[in-house]
């Protein structure tokens, strides 16, 4: 299965260069920090997933099978907060970005290694606040913290959770800053912008959003905290404020944030599709620029979350038009990935299955975004399960699939070990089936009018809810299988060799696991990315 001879992993690498817990907690090696992140985001994914499982179990019965309504509300709030801010936003950037950005540009580390470690600690501190909020009784505002519910009426641990999100925001900012500087200033000789792997374009675009969007969320949450503490009317109309202003400020960040979640995944898919069809990507510059276009346009559409909020009709029209505009670069990407397969040499190892799953599910999810971007239909669909299905198709079917694909792709590089490919393909299939069973019924539920965030619901919605819950249990199994074989492979997996997939890219030119300094000599790049079929990627 590999084009490069399997070399035994001997010698010193970043994993065995130093031992002991301190060598991990005080490391400034981007690869080790990536693993710290890997551990932490997996932890948060399991917590968020556990909440999802409880919710799905609860919704089997119209009157609610399991929880008090108040508890159910806390479940989806914590599920949303944890999945968005503590799992999906950091997932690919902080794990794979950290691991790969320096390697892909041919550098020894990121521009600011200590800042990088700091951002992990900041993330952990934010996470601890949120966990405290969870343990001390939960939050019940939804992940959107709408005012004046969050500032005046909610009595959960809003402050702790908001503070947790606020703090984690800085981790995101620092990570983005590090990537931008690294990609600008630390590229190896010969690595021009148009030779960059598309993953880096995607990460670059993501970083723009992180840098320019996150501060607005930070200040917004500060204002919420201020209002909650001093009872001054910034957002509460009873005190003279305007609750809709909060929504503007929140979505100014949180809409672009959904592209923080999808763009890195798109980058991963670009890598996977090329590698497993052994072809240069179709229309490199179109894919590259559409990442940047998505990042920029994403800042212009936030009002599409507020079509029924009392926003002016004219603003609604503008936001609707711009939301349609953001679909175009996504369409360009989907078509180019598909075209890359054309006349390729396509193989179906596990990462590729995830990548193809991504393309299909992202397409379905993205196109339902158009239903929501249309003013007339959104009036009906807003805050129903249709929205839930839309974003799970993109975030779970898309972003999470891409994340898993990337993890399967670079796992041998990170650990130097191979996992059992058969199991991996099997779990990809299970996830695909379970996923569709869970979330497809929710589209119908939504159109039928079932509102989201409902702990109890009218009986006519039960059948579809049961289907969804059944799917969720299959999905859960699908996620637990990789957890098992990944852990297994760390000890028992066969050695991977530097390049098990026959992939192109600087990261495959060093041993697996890489040495601490990544490259023994500064690599010099002389060809474009994805130069499959031509001479071997040349590294001096």
């Amino acid at each position: 299965m590999s084009t490069t001879a399997v070399a035994p992993t001997t010698g010193v690498n970043y994993l065995n260069a130093q031992y002991g817990i301190r060598s991990w907690l005080l490391t400034t090696d981007h690869k080790r920090i990536a693993l710290l992140y890997l551990g932490s985001v997996t932890f948060f994914f399991l917590i968020g997933g556990a909440a999802a499982v409880l919710m799905r179990l609860h919704l089997i019965e119209p009157q609610g099978a399991l929880l008090e309504p108040a508890t159910y509300n806390k479940m989806f709030s914590m599920h949303g907060i944890i999945m968005v801010f503590f799992f999906l936003i950091p997932s690919i950037p902080a794990v794979m970005g950290n691991f790969l950005v320096p390697m892909m540009v041919g550098a020894r580390d990121l521009a600011f290694p200590r800042l990088n470690l700091l951002s992990w600690y900041v993330y952990i501190v934010g996470g601890l606040f949120t966990l405290y909020a969870v343990v001390a009784g939960g939050v019940d505002t939804g992940w959107t913290f709408y005012t004046p519910l969050s500032t005046t009426y909610a009595n959960g641990n809003v402050m702790a959770a908001a503070l947790g999100v606020f703090i984690t925001g800085f981790s995101s900012i620092l990570t983005g800053l590090n990537f931008v500087v690294t990609i600008h200033k630390m590229r190896a000789p010969g690595l021009t912008w148009f030779r960059l792997p598309l993953f880096l374009w995607a990460i670059y675009a993501t970083s723009i959003i992180m840098i320019l969007g996150t501060p607005v969320l930070a200040i917004t949450l500060l204002l919420v905290a201020l209002e909650r503490t001093f009872h001054v009317g910034i957002f509460d109309p009873a005190l003279g404020g305007d609750p809709i202003l909060f929504q503007h400020l929140f979505w100014f960040y949180s809409h672009p944030a959904v592209y923080i979640m999808i763009l890195p995944s798109m980058g991963v898919v670009s890598e996977l599709v090329t590698c497993f069809s052994r072809k240069r990507i179709f229309g490199y510059s179109f894919v590259a620029f559409s990442s940047v276009a998505i990042a920029v346009i994403s800042f212009l559409v936030w009002g599409h979350h507020m079509f029924v909020s009392g926003q002016s009709v004219y603003a609604g029209l503008v936001f609707s038009a711009l939301s349609f505009a953001v679909a175009i670069p996504s369409a360009i990407k989907v078509f180019n990935w598909t075209a890359t397969l054309y006349k390729g040499s396509v193989s179906y190892q596990a990462p590729m299955l995830y990548a193809l799953g991504f393309i299909g599910l992202f397409t379905m999810g993205g196109l339902t975004g158009l239903f929501l971007a249309s003013l007339a239909t959104d009036i009906h669909l807003h805050d129903t399960y249709f929205v839930i299905a839309h974003f799970h198709y993109i975030m779970v079917g898309g972003a999470l699939m891409g994340y898993l694909g990337g993890l399967h792709f670079w796992w041998p590089k990170m650990t130097g070990r191979l996992y059992p490919d058969g199991w991996a393909r099997f779990s990809a299939l299970v996830i695909f089936i379970g996923f569709n069973l869970t979330f497809f019924p929710q589209y119908i539920l939504g159109y039928l009018g079932m509102p989201r965030r409902y702990a109890v619901y009218p009986e006519e919605f039960q059948v579809l809810n049961v289907m969804s819950s059944a799917g969720a249990s299959i999905l859960a199994v699908g996620y637990l299988i990789p957890l098992v074989y990944f852990i297994w492979s760390i000890r028992y997996g066969p050695p991977a060799g530097p390049n098990p997939w026959g992939a192109k890219g600087l990261e495959w030119e060093t041993p697996s696991p890489p040495p601490t300094e990544n490259f023994e000599e500064v690599p010099v790049v002389e060809e474009e990315a994805y130069a499959y079929g031509e001479k071997e990627a040349h590294v001096v």
């Binding site: 600008h184 320019l212 109309p237 809709i244 400020l249 800042f299 009709v313 603003a315 503008v318």
Partner: protein, 109 residues
Amino acid sequence: MAAHVVAKKTYFTVFATLIGLTALTTYVATIDLGPLNIVVALLIAMCKASLVVLFFMHLRWSSRLMHVVGVAALFWLAILLALTLSDYRTRPWTPAGKPWGTSNIQFNR
């Protein structure tokens, strides 16, 4: 790594201009120009900020990349302000709800 060294005189000139502009903006504010007050005040503030950025922060002598960063930040700020205000400004045109205490929002100042 040879940095750009600016003559002290330049700094003093810039500083004097800044102080002058501060005096000017304070004075203009005491005249009632109606809606123009804020326009003038912001224009003067932008001039002052540009002076600081270009000379004190050496943007004048920095690479294109730094210019791009600066312009990008301003551009994004403009997006935030423009699109948010576009909602509030067009609300009186429509039957959409408007906050109490603000009937017939007058954005003329």
